[in-house]
């Protein structure tokens, strides 16, 4: 996105936050407060909007997005790994409370390594064993030595 498009997005964010600030209802006992709960956020929103307008005025690049199919394939090729990694991370976050921390982490480590650099032959065995060892060791450090209880499975 160009700077001017980013500025428009930021103005939109300011607008949304301002609209949400209208829903802030201080209770009656807060009448003595010099600044209400909504005042400081609104000042910050105003500063954000002001500098977004400066960026819009001084920024370069087009204001309207251009829809171009040809570069889409290039875009997907370029952002394939980050998008896949983010999707896998989201799946990992969903899985943790369902199947427990250790199984979710083990599977996540294996799948991520397969996606980033598909192994062949004996390397796959190393990936599986190494991932299990790492997940197990980390779990032991946190549960036994740091006394942090990690999530257990909700499904079983």
């Amino acid at each position: 996105m160009s700077d001017r498009q980013v500025a428009v997005v930021l103005l939109g964010v300011s607008g949304v936050f301002y609209w949400q600030s209208l829903a802030i209802r201080p209770p009656p006992f807060a009448a003595f407060e010099a600044l209400g709960a909504e005042t400081f956020p609104r000042w910050v929103i105003a500063v954000l909007a002001a500098f977004s307008l400066i960026l819009l005025a001084r920024g370069r690049g087009p204001l309207l997005p251009r829809v171009d199919r040809a570069p889409l394939a290039l875009w997907l090729a370029r952002f394939r790994l980050p998008l896949l990694s983010l999707a896998l991370f989201a799946a990992y976050a969903v899985a943790i409370p369902q199947v427990g921390w250790l199984p979710a982490t083990f599977v996540y480590l294996v799948v991520m390594q397969l996606v980033l650099r598909p192994p062949s032959g004996r390397q796959l065995a190393y990936v599986v064993v190494g991932s299990f060892a790492f997940a197990w060791a980390l779990g032991e450090i946190f549960e036994r030595f740091l006394h942090v209880v990690l999530p257990r499975a909700a499904l079983f």
Binding site: R25, L81, I96
Partner: protein, 508 residues
């Protein structure tokens, strides 16, 4: 002196010493791997410190910061790739020196220069922090609010090419910090009816997402999995033998460069938000300007290695000055340390160094920095052959491991999966911000200091509704004036450049 001895007594506890040593080793390892930053290392270590005492936790993170600043030298010298952003200028001379057949000399110069730079920085820390804390005690809510405004504008102007984007980043951080409950009356704000959001966004998942997740996504986008591994395989690891006597002789002959670079680095650290990457480059640049042989810089000249490494280590000490004295982070690393203090129930600010209940902690940190600097030298030399081999660890193995550590760090804070989602969301936000030229340190500072600004402006108005006090109280007026001046100056510079860029086209 008594207070330093008190700090020394607290620091010499075996658990604190061991934690610092572990932090230094972790820092060197994380620092030498290209693509990882010292900030990421400190953030990943933070969850491990939850079960520790405050001093032990801060000492561990400080060990990571000091070790990481030195660790970046190894890949900078051997691969020409800075291990951390604070080793950029180190590559200018360390890599050519290694290619000329002197890798041991390059590593030795950098490691010894880091030690001496760190020691000089420590003197700045020990001498500057206590009087600054005493001065900070005079601050009322007007001055504290003005200090926050000044910090954000300075960070915004120093951290990137665009002041406007820097300020937007800082203000966006402040805005997202208001999500949750009003700090005085706990009135819900921007919570969308969600009970999870009523506590707001916790600092740690925000930080991990912004720095660790976004950095990894950027690396994956650049295809670093392949390039990093191919690059690593292409490196034939040399036999490292360090000629200590020759190195120490080189450093003695360049003592003025060493001292000047260290002072430049320490001063950069004292200024809020200017960090190791700026200190590294500025120290190198300054040393070149005062050198008798500036034309030799960039060719494998020993002064170049000394200047850059002394600068990037002394800055760590300088960063601790505003953090300990005023509760204002000197850079992203000290912002994490401030977050750690808050997690451990310690309130940062001028009282940290002056209140008898916390002086042992504060002076323990000051003493600990010196210890970490010395230990880094010993560990780096002793483990050099092993550390050099770690450069070859495949990136496709490291990335998932780092992400798991990041998720674990967010999870153990409050034992809520919601914090992993916060990390995820801020990771995407951080990635998008960086891609569009917005710097992350202003965002972090705005997020951390925003609540402080709000509380203090409310206190100021509750004490007296007279807004002119912000301008009539001298310290507050000075800080607000400097903040306004820096904004106006950089906006004017930007506008002049724009006019010069456009004018030649309009002339016939």
């Amino acid at each position: 002196m008594d207070l330093l001895l008190t700090g020394l007594g607290a620091f010499l506890a075996p658990n604190v010493l061991l934690s610092t040593l572990a932090g230094v080793v972790a820092g060197i390892v994380l620092g030498l791997i290209p693509g990882f930053t010292i900030t990421m290392g400190v953030i990943l270590v933070l969850p491990f410190t939850f079960g520790m005492t405050p001093l032990q936790g801060i000492a561990t993170m400080m060990g990571v910061a000091v070790g990481g600043a030195s660790g970046g030298l190894i890949s900078a010298a051997l691969m020409g790739i800075p291990g951390t952003p604070s080793a950029v200028a180190t590559t200018f001379d360390a890599f050519p020196m290694a290619r000329k057949g002197e890798p041991g000399r390059a590593l030795g110069l950098g490691t010894w220069a880091s030690l001496f730079g760190g020691i000089i920085g420590w003197f700045v820390l020990a001498l500057a922090a206590p009087p600054l804390a005493e001065f900070g005690l005079k601050f009322g809510p007007w001055e504290l609010f003005a200090l926050v405004a000044f910090s954000i504008t300075i960070i915004a102007s120093l951290s990137g090419a665009s002041l406007v984007k820097g300020i937007i980043s800082g203000v966006l951080g402040m805005l997202l910090a208001t999500v949750g409950s009003d700090p005085q009356l706990a009135i819900p704000r921007f919570t969308l009816g969600s009970p999870d959001l009523e506590a707001g966004f916790d600092f740690l998942p925000v930080l991990i997402g912004l720095f660790a997740v976004s950095q990894l996504m950027s690396d994956l986008e650049r295809g670093i999995t392949r390039a990093g591994e191919d690059g690593a395989r292409a490196v034939r690891l040399p036999d490292i033998r360090i000629p200590h006597l020759q190195v120490l002789k080189d450093i003695w002959n360049s003592k003025v460069v060493l001292l000047w670079s260290s002072l430049v680095g320490a001063w950069i650290g004292v200024v809020p938000a200017a960090g190791g990457s700026i200190a590294n480059v500025l120290a190198y640049d300054q040393a070149k300007k005062v050198s008798r042989h500036p034309q030799r810089y960039g060719t494998g000249y020993h002064e170049g290695v000394i200047a850059s490494e002394a600068g990037n280590n002394s800055v760590s000490a300088g960063d601790l000055v505003p953090m300990l004295a005023l509760g204002i982070p000197g850079d992203a690393v000290t912002a994490v340390m401030l977050g750690a203090l808050l997690i451990h129930g310690v309130q940062p600010g001028p009282l940290l160094l002056t209140d008898p209940r916390t002086t042992q902690l504060a002076y323990g940190v000051i003493v600990g920095y010196l210890f970490a600097t010395v230990v880094t030298l010993v560990v780096q030399f002793w483990g050099m052959r092993l550390f050099v081999r770690l450069v070859l660890v495949p990136y496709h193995v490291l990335v998932p491991g780092i992400l798991v550590l990041a998720a674990l760090g967010a999870l153990v804070l409050n034992n809520r999966v919601f914090d992993i989602w916060v990390l995820f969301g801020f990771g995407i936000l951080g990635y998008l911000l960086v891609k569009h030229g917005f710097e992350l340190p202003p965002f972090v500072i705005g997020f951390l200091l925003g609540p402080l600004a709000e509380i203090n402006i409310k206190r100021a108005l509750q004490t007296s509704p007279d807004l002119t006090l912000f301008l009539t109280r001298p310290i507050s007026a000075l800080l607000l004036g400097l903040a306004l001046l820096s904004v106006v100056y950089y906006l004017w510079i930007g506008t002049s450049r724009e006019i010069r860029r456009v004018r030649p086209r309009s002339e016939p």
